[in-house]
Amino acid sequence: MIKDYFRISFSAFKSRKLRTGLTLLGVFIGIALLITLMSLGSGLQKFITDQFEQMGSDKLMIMPGSSMFGAPVEGIELTKKDLEIIERTQGIEAVTGAVIKIGAVTYKEETTYTWTLGTPMDTKSWAIFESMSSAFKVEKGRKITDKDTSKVNIGIDVATDKKLFDKGVSLGDKIIIEGKEFEVVGIYGRIGNPQDDSQIYLPIDVARDLFDEPDKYDMIVAQSKTGEDPENVAEKVKKNLRKSRDVKEDEEDFTIQTSEQLLESFGTILAVIQAVLIGLATISLLVGGIGIANTMYTSILERTREIGVMKAIGAKTTDIASLFIIESGLIGLGAGLIGVTIGALISLGIQSAIHLAGYTMLNVNLSLSLLLGGLAFAFVFGIVSGLIPAIKASKMNPVDSLRYE
């Protein structure tokens, strides 16, 4: 029975190719958008989750300013004193800080600007950074120590041709940072995000001299002791810092976030962005749905006589309704097939672009369930869009329908 309806509905399309095609166009754009956004969104989510999982839940990030995402405010900064206070807080295992600057770097007469990271290079301090990403590993040469006052490590992109420099920097080469000459003694493996990969790594004291920044930290990372609740430790650090910096509760000029909190805030931002984009896709789908309904109304009007004939030769209201519902469902399914394909292609295109930009860790998430779900959704969407027209058709009076010219 149902198979026959599908066949009859399908034969109806063949004579209305253009109109069916235009209706499909209206719907598949929405479906494609939805597939792209969802695969991208869940890929991004996975990327962020992975990042923080690597970072470990025992880390605390302390930054100047009242909000993580706010612009840095002149005069508000973290200092060596703050680091000491954090270090002395109960429940803290280890702490390290970093001076992060953009510096002028010259190699073979070519000058460019890139990130430099100055941080204590002793084993205990570096271990905190190292544990934040398994990719933080020197692949060629050796890691610098605090004693290396004129030696640096570089990210992979600094050593790659046509990235920072026309010709990539090699092991043993000399580069000039802010007017001072350094020897490259180690090159990191690919970390997967462009800032880290194009970064130059220096001992913190060298960086302090270079950038004339004797006391300031741009970021402090602390590790809580095993068995301590990082949230609890964070509260204690917060209290101590408040006291030493002389600020009231809820008026802090610094921010402490545990990796859990970071994950949450990123998740919230991501969810908001996704909601907005999916909202847009939904509007586009709604317009497409109205298109289906419109096409179905036209189709039903055109076939009023046919409906009358079918009723005369024994079609029940349910038969007529089924025929038209299947027809609109097929429009939806057709749009779904095209939309899912195009959406997946766009996602893959975006993924290549992201990889090209250096974020090789970020992959879109095109799961089979997303693709099949998209198809099923499109079919159901078509059915729902055609429901009212189909019910209208099924309730037509056979005599009036037969008289219709």
């Binding site: 046919e306 004939v309 079918m310 030769i313 209201t317 005599v399």
Partner: protein, 245 residues
């Protein structure tokens, strides 16, 4: 005693057109017995189309009752009525009314789909019927590829597909030239003669009407004459030359 297949009892049909009441049918009493061949004749506007729709159970009377095989059609649900109609009455229309997107076999199969008959059985039956009406070689053609006479043959095959007792033809030759019309009438007469079908033929053409055993004349929504004919010979007279008196 003959079995009554359709019975109309004091049937009125009143339409409301822009506020004025139009009495299309005014108290029709009619019985159709199994095996009858009846022509309903009347000028346009006489109410014969309305009567045809009521006999075909496509509509319900404003007043009075219609019985299909002794069942009051007003008491059946819409879906039940559709089912019974599809099984009991085969329609042949003036404008053929085939589904343009389906080929001849599919058109003939359509009423069987609505009766839930399995595909194989449906197709065999459709092929058999199309052969019977002389369209064995054009079964896979769509209506747009068929001539008027061929379309009407497909329509007749479709009307026969559920083995109905009654064939209700509404001006079956109205859109055809006289020669083709004659062959279509031959087919319809054959259904009566060879298969004992009850034929109800609505027409305005007195010549076509005389193929029947009985003529019902309707004027202004009332039956004015209900008489037996001396049956129109298939071989005498001509469609253009008017009727044989």
């Amino acid at each position: 005693m003959k079995q009554t297949v359709i019975k109309l009892k004091d049937v009125w049909k009143v339409y409301s057109l822009e506020g004025t009441q139009v009495e299309a049918l005014r108290g029709i009493d009619l019985d159709f017995n199994k095996g009858d061949f009846v022509s309903i004749i009347g000028p346009s506007g006489s109410g014969k189309s309305t009567l045809m729709h009521l006999i075909g159970c496509l509509d319900l009377p404003t007043k009075g009752q219609i019985f299909l095989n002794n069942h009051d059609i007003a008491k059946m649900s819409e879906n039940r009525l559709a089912q019974v109609r599809g099984k009991t009455i085969g329609f042949v229309f003036q404008a053929f009314n085939l589904i343009p997107t389906l080929n001849a076999i599919e058109n003939v199969s359509l009423p069987m789909i609505f009766q839930g008959i399995p595909k194989d059985e449906r197709e065999d039956k459709a092929i058999m019927l199309l052969n019977q009406v002389g369209l064995g070689k054009r079964m896979h053609h769509k209506p747009s590829e068929l001539s008027g006479g061929e379309k009407q043959r497909v329509a007749i095959a479709r009307a026969l597909s559920n083995d109905p007792d009654i064939i209700l033809a509404d001006e079956p030759t109205g859109n055809l030239d006289s020669k083709t019309g004659q062959t279509i009438m031959d087919l319809i007469v054959g259904l009566h003669k060879n298969y004992g079908k009850t034929i109800i033929n609505v027409t305005h053409d007195p010549y076509i009407a005389k193929f029947a055993d009985k003529i019902v004349r309707i004027v202004d929504g009332k039956i004015t004459k209900n008489h037996n004919t001396e049956k129109q010979s298939l071989w005498e007279g001509s469609l253009n030359g008017g009727s044989k008196k």
